[in-house]
Point group: D3
Chain length 324, copies 6
């Protein structure tokens, strides 16, 4: 007997403004058991060095994801016909103690992995990606370090902040490399820009072998060129995809903690995410949506759309259902 799949609430019956919002209007089982993909919120922003608020991200992305319909207008993929996808709620993480929070997040993702589901997370600030990566790493101990496709305006490979604080949203990928979770030679960062602390700001990252695509190169290459470069860097081994919403131009994603003007557009972002098809993705997230700084829900809508694009891209790797 085939495993049952979950369907979003039917908008031809219940209007989009009605009902409790879950990610993509999907059911909300108590756990990830039986799921292929677990949509999960990580409402934590304790690693934020400037403007807070990403703790409110999961709720507003859920809210705006009410506007998502079932399928993709380009690929024709309807993920819910191929995979068991549901919203497993938010990880229980408290906002006061950062080190405890990292453990709570890791435990929450570990439970999803243990259930055999792929985590598709909504942050939270970018530090939340670190415990997600830790959990993924521990769940597949023999797999080796992961590759990373990072859409972002910042490299997030700084060493420490405000003296000796090692864990902030500006340091997760340095920590992950140090911990052996990520393979720096299979990291590509797309859209990096903004003023820098020092002329050699990205020296450490480049020395590790990280491929930084500054925004100028992104604009000059165009989505197709960027996609080719992603596939070249990542190859066929497993990778994680992290989408910091501040990679997108602030006019299209104003609700974020550290905006940098002059970013790529949502349209370019959608095309680049679609181009990830074919990668071996073992987890993904959308982070840094900060509703207190958002305008009219635009950033949360953008976040929900990117989440849907990621979901469809991953689902594209699974067989389509037979149609009569």
């Amino acid at each position: 007997m085939p495993r049952p799949f979950f369907e979003p609430l039917d908008a031809s019956r219940v209007p989009r403004f009605a009902g409790q919002p879950s990610f993509m209007r999907l059911p909300t089982p108590a756990s990830a058991a039986g799921l292929d993909i677990a949509l999960v919120g990580i409402p934590f922003d304790g690693g934020t060095t400037n403007r807070p608020g990403a703790r409110h991200g999961p709720r507003e992305v859920r809210n705006q994801s009410s506007l998502m319909r079932r399928g993709h207008h380009v690929s024709g993929v309807i993920p819910y016909e191929r995979l068991a996808v549901a919203d497993v709620g938010d990880i229980e993480v408290q906002p006061i103690d950062l080190m405890q929070a990292l453990d709570q997040i890791e435990a929450g993702i570990a439970a999803i992995c243990a259930a055999g589901a792929l985590p598709l997370a909504v942050g939270g600030d970018h530090l939340t990606t670190l415990p997600v990566l830790r959990a993924l790493s521990k769940a597949s101990p023999g797999r080796g370090p992961l590759g990373l496709v990072q859409f972002d305006s910042h490299s997030d490979t700084n060493d420490r902040y405000f003296g000796d604080n090692l864990y902030t949203h500006g340091t997760p990928f340095r920590r992950a490399i140090e911990e052996g979770i990520l393979d720096p030679k299979r990291i590509i960062q797309i859209g990096i820009r903004g003023s820098v602390y020092a002329a050699d700001e990205h020296l450490w990252a480049k020395d590790q072998g990280i491929r930084i695509l500054y925004i100028e190169e992104v604009m000059d290459l165009g989505p197709e060129g960027v996609i080719a470069e992603i596939h070249r860097v990542i190859g066929s081994a497993p990778c994680y995809v992290t989408f910091d919403i501040d990679g997108i131009d602030p006019s299209q994603a104003p609700g974020t903690g550290t905006p940098e003007v002059g970013g790529f557009s949502t349209h370019q972002a959608q095309r680049m995410v679609r181009g990830l098809a074919g990668l071996q993705i073992c987890g993904a997230d959308v982070v840094e949506v900060s509703p207190p700084f958002d305008i009219g829900g635009l950033t949360a809508l953008t976040g929900a759309t990117i989440l849907f694009e990621l979901l469809c891209t991953i689902a594209a790797g699974y067989p389509a259902p037979a149609r009569p």
Copy 2:
């Protein structure tokens, strides 16, 4: 074996910004079976004659109700210790066909009544109260017309709008009186104000015996005086309580379709609602919260608080749990 009660999500474990919002963070059973009080959303604003948006009310009231804790700081009542209360979701109502919508709403409330639960609804515009009253009336055929405690800036007893439109948010109580559902001599309207279409605007209402407390009288009497007048008019027979958020001053409830400056305050509203204790309330609602016109969620927060006050007031009529 005692019936199990429902508890809100524990804020000492899950922060208020986390998780899917339900009314008061309560569980969301699929039906009202086994409930004493069913919190229910009615996302419909098709009766609105000016600024729309109350269809988005239930979702935002749910969102802001995350700030509600378990008990009342004055009465000490914790409703969840006395009654089975839960969020049964939104009534399925489409936004296109007004007459069909009235039937859908009535059916949704009828199901709650059939389950033996008292409906505590969140609109939607004020027309949504009409089908709620119809369902309550049909559920208790021998009970006779209900009394009505109406907090509002408008009487909502007009006859018709835009030619021959009988069903708008300016007409529900005229219709309910005509249909024999409400006893006009046991209707009290509190906070009425604003410019009028005609010098004899409220002549029909007064001729029916409705007691109109204009805002000037509300301010002069104070909450205690208003409460006494409510009890005098309503007496001990069953009644319904409807709270139009536009009764409150627009500085405290800006997100509504027909704001009238110079209203009573939230503090006064809370005191008046508390004074309803002792009435035989068979249903209640909070209506006309229109999030597209809201500012910083203030109106939705006010609506959630009034909803909580109504819940505690009703619960106060039930025995407190024995404490060891």
Copy 3:
């Protein structure tokens, strides 16, 4: 044959959100000829010393005045049955040259006076009241200085700003007294508050005989006490009424250039304005509504409501139409 009166657009036919907004939805004749009361906008804010934007006031007050209906719910007065009232548009005033602007405003009001109509103006910053008073004074050369009822948080009787600038929104009533247009002994200022430049800030005003009711006294007296004091100071001779929207608390009138927290409420304001009935009012205005700083149109709605209260109060002095 009786003179024809003007009626607002009928809201039972054209919804309030439809149509071009005029003050009170009234017709917009090309001039004040034949009018008893001319509603007129004065879109000028060149006298503003801090936050500008009152030039946009007339348009947004027109917009929000769409919510006004025909009559007053307390007095029962329907001004359009007693008087010919219409919206004569905005005075043509340019924003660049302050001294020229004062002349333009005076000329615009002079034309209204010449037509025999009473001007009921919407500013504009408070400096715009000065040329209105000049025009009124010249139109009735033998009348003597006017009294002034001023609702405000500031006395606006400073001498000069930024060196030798004599004409700003902080100086109009000093200039008007110096010019012999106002009788300082028949000026009452209601709601004065806020920090002061000097301990003897209001010494000049008090020395002239101006009656300053600080906000503390307003709150302690209540509307009835304030009304009595107004009548005592103004007496039966002609007066002008000027309502600076910043007299009202900023929570109810945030959109203004120089907000001062802790003001009187809109409800109190309405009652005080109603209490002006019986005064010999020869002109009035509502000023300092600054839409760029407004929130959700609340200040403009408050301004429109005060304008309507002023209109009804003036109309109350005219005979009611005979009813069959």
Copy 4:
């Protein structure tokens, strides 16, 4: 004697923030008699399936159109020198009864057509285009079905919503095709995107022969390529142009009911509209501007600009005035 043309209010005399706003600051005659082009508002949003508010569109587009000057900076066309253009106000349409509203809108447009004027309308939701098309069709009974140039993110050719509701803003062009008003082989839809209900979402539309230009193709072709395709599909027979503001990216048009991220830019939109010159346009509209969801008036400004571009494009087909 040449027919007199209408001129916008002169901004060198009356500042843009002054005066009652009409479309393009044009005069507001009581009817379309003598006009070549009638600018008209259709304040109705009863066909909206998600976020309402387009009923407020005409007023805010009028407001922002105060920023439009007389002529076009690229073509040099000054429409008011070639054609009699004025603002005939809003069609009287009530918000409660959808079927009655469709009749009211059709009657309003029929009156414009009867006067010999071309309607250039501002909605309102997209359902309002259906009665406009009906009126145009009946006004020229022998003309045959019209072509349609549709800028939009949605095809709006769905069959029914929420059970059997045939008339929503998601269905107007299916109805118009069924009614024989539009020739599907001469329909081109530009900018279609967003998630879909089903993999074969647009199957019916394509089967009818509609040319759908998805956003990806729009971006790849560029404005020039799109213009060529428009002319190929539409040819030289009469057509209607409908511009749903949600075709534009939500960062430039956030105030709309069903935003879809990743759209074309305003700059691209302007170029595409200019490229319509040469088509035989017999009517046009701008729809789905929803001010309650707008941010800083940006969407209304964009709508006003597109309206001006449409006006200039149509006027370009008429002879320029002789210059001395």
Copy 5:
């Protein structure tokens, strides 16, 4: 030679919108040396359990304090004539590590105390008051526990949150009592309200002897009655004054992390603060202004005004300058 006092930037020379904002437009010396009162910001919100953002409080309160003039309109006090007052900037506190932050704040206040100045602080969340109290306590080792006048909607005497987190903005006064810094019998809390976690929510506080004035009692007593009660509880021994902006009604202070509707008004707050004159105040603060949730700067303006009221109240205890 008399010590020089500092004067705010002269608004008759430099407009209020010009220049870098400091608290009250005062000079910004590098340290508190020579000051009587040091205005100081504490930009930290790591103790926030719900909506963050109070870290941005000091900057926006500085910004809005540009509207403060030199003196008090009721008392006539001009603090800058009696005391050396200046803005010593923000304490350097990082946002990542809560325990380190508490030490940083304490060190910053200790430096002010060591310079002999009284700290008048702007938070930050309410947890920031704990290290301020610690520094004050250590600076005067023999003084004994302080009294506390607390304007607030919450008691902030909970024990722990989210498991075992002892330090949050809901616990500072429990910690301070445990640490012997505050004398619970000389604590008065004014304006407490909102739903509660448990029926015995405030049992611990009351058992310690804290005097809780719930909002109902505040409203019934009025400012004069509250002032009397404050003096009765506090007496003549040293005390600290802490003003949580959420004590004020959210319509007047929406920008805060945990709003509770139904609060006292700004006007009432001003009167109550003025009534503190005569107490032996050794420090004070305004906390929980959260700009990301603020509306039009209203909460920051309210915070700046309360800060000014506190400053004038303290200054009232010092001799006025001799006037020639």
Copy 6:
């Protein structure tokens, strides 16, 4: 001994949200003595013909410039290592008397020039550029007229407004040409668009020899093509750079007085500004940032970023520091 340079506040020590905001977090010396580049605010908007508010520009640009770090991510230039740069505060200019204000601004810039520093100003409306140019001209009497690189949506070469007003933000460059300060043949205007008053709107400008790059040409040329054209027009003689923020698309710069949709993007703007390297720039400004119309600080952030780009571009012409 080398002259000391100024460094921005260290963000690894003091978070970006802390401290008083100055331009780029630089020190704020009392004068320009010893500076190479003086960042200076000009808070004046008296030349504005439509929506005011640019007087608030310097403060908010300072605020958002807290997000700027030390160096440029493309050029690697760290201006503070090459030049003495500081924030000299705002020019003291009153808002009431336009002609006096022009003199005040000129005097303020003259002082900077006299100190030997290059002025890098933040307006204010575009009229403020005229007195800046006058001061620059007088400071180097033998230099001859300057070239001008103008990013803008308007040519600002109109003759007069509202009758005979010669000095508005629509006329500065006509005046500067007439006064012999600018060489019209070395003026290039980039991004001009929007509807026009007359078909020959720019006839005078073109007759003078000004090179107008309409937005269509800007988009077609791309940044590289525009840069080439700039260098062709300006050549190697001294020039001024003025960046009107309304040149950028309103989705990225909504907070401005006269928005024109369809502009160039921030990314394009950044590239064009970088391409100015090599020009002999003797002063520059960013104008028309109007915070009351801004959304979420986006325009001020864009303005701060352009200011930083200008600073880095100018600094690129100076030798880099020797690195050990």
